[in-house]
Symmetry: C2
Subunit: 293 residues, 2 copies
């Protein structure tokens, strides 16, 4: 099983788009939960695991991070950013009557993210929340006798043979989901299918005490070395009350001097620093959509 790729199921989701964009031909195994999938790569039941780190739909960032930080023997080795594009889709037998649909099915967050479209086009349409956008597409595919629609991505339309009748119906254009590839050692993984957008090093830094200006002091270690931070987020520690750690992305790969020196200085100030990975990142751009109308 060492060549298998684990990922968070089910099919027809944005995670499946990410795993297919990175891996082509390998055996893939879906897991029902993030911790199960992290356990599998930690125990080497699978070689790599693909999981959402920031998910603009299902919001799983906390779970992946919580378990990743706990599991010391795995690293982030690659990243794929998938734009979140939501489409309005119906069963092929209902394409001609789609403007008279009597209900829409999707994940509640996807329904929320298509608020303007729904309000303008269907001001009084019943919406039904499902456990995932993929489950909504499956439901619509199984009920051709009902004139109903799903909001989901293009892969779900393909997977469940639905027809996209209106594309890109989401309110905000710049939503995306970050997927990380996890591995039991730190050798970064390059994609042969996607164009590299850059390199990142992800750190967690916890401060010795919560005092005004502590974060400012930590950032000085990066700023004067001209290490650009593309992300910073404070997050509560899972032990103790009122303490925070910081999740930081440095916009370059681990080097021999600058990043190790910054880390050594932070540690000498009493901070705890963990390197979650140093890896290339990619943008998936292949979600072309063909309208059925």
């Amino acid at each position: 099983m060492t060549g298998t790729i684990g990922y968070l199921g089910p099919k027809g989701t944005f995670t499946k788009i990410a795993v297919d964009s990175m891996f082509n031909g390998e055996k893939k195994k879906s897991y029902q939960t993030i911790p199960e999938c992290i356990d599998a790569v930690s125990n080497q039941e699978v070689k790599y695991a693909v999981l959402p780190l920031e998910n603009a739909i299902e919001g799983t960032v906390n779970i992946t991070l919580d378990y990743l930080i706990q599991t010391k023997n795995i690293k982030i080795v690659s990243e794929v950013i998938v734009p979140i594009r939501q489409h309005f889709m119906v069963h092929p037998s209902n394409v001609k009557t789609w403007e008279a649909v009597e209900g829409v099915y999707s994940h509640s967050h996807a329904i929320a993210q298509c608020h303007s479209f729904l309000r303008q086009k269907f001001p009084s349409l019943d919406s039904h929340s499902m456990k995932s956008t993929g489950a909504a597409a499956e439901y619509v595919s199984q009920h051709p006798e009902r004139n109903i629609a799903a909001i989901a991505n293009h892969l779900a339309a393909k997977e469940y043979d639905l027809s996209i009748v209106e594309k890109d119906i989401h309110d905000f254009d710049n939503n995306h989901t970050r997927f990380v590839v996890l591995h039991h050692n730190e050798t970064s993984l390059s994609s042969t299918q996607l164009e590299e957008r850059g390199q990142k090093t992800t750190l967690t830094i916890s401060l010795p005490s919560d005092r005004p200006g502590a974060l400012h002091q930590v950032l000085s270690a990066f700023a004067w070395r001209h290490l650009n931070l593309s992300k910073i987020e404070s997050r509560p520690m899972k032990t103790g009350l009122g303490h925070y750690y910081f999740l930081i992305d440095i916009e370059q790969k681990m080097d021999d001097v600058l990043i190790p020196n910054a880390i050594a200085e932070l540690e000498s100030l009493g901070c705890t620093v963990d390197v979650l990975g140093s890896y290339p990142y990619y943008l998936y751009n292949g979600n072309g959509v063909t309208l059925a109308v």
Copy 2:
């Protein structure tokens, strides 16, 4: 309708715990999506709206923030922090046989967050993901003939008459969800039922250009004034590519000198600063649990 409180439904969720802890006796109206609820308070169909800002289960932070930032005429006027405590519950007729349950129902994230408990106690139990923890509790309450369990909070147990047979089964103790109270003017709202934990001022700051050290410079404006930041998060702008804004919580209420001066200086450096609110925050601690076994 001006006295009504809008909130993100359905019943039996953590949002309902938050709204009930802040408001007692007022008429309440549930909305199916976050944007609908924000529209309602913006249009003054409801007086206040209660929404999750950081939700450790359903992860809705992005949606609330995206629509809150867009809707200029409303402010955050109060905040309630609700610890996320998950319990294992069954129909009262199955209390004696709960250790032989043949399936567990919950939101997929709640199942993930109870990974250690499930793996140790029920290593081969089928788990079924539902659209919310409340929906899972409802399902279990409607199927007394099946020996199944739900993972949900104590309010769901009460709402659907289920018996809690194991309490606090979540992996991490320090998970919580932040709920904000929104209002169409900026007068902060004090709770008469909860103990105040402090005051916060929430800002969004966008930088004029993405260059190394820009964030460090911004934080200097707060650091030398000893304005303590309890949260900082970089988030992608919804317009343009690769640009970020920062969401910052200052651990004090808006004053006449320090915060306005910091904002004025940041604006003179070319930053755009918006005040999302200055408000008291509260911790909800009333989720006592009685075990049925």
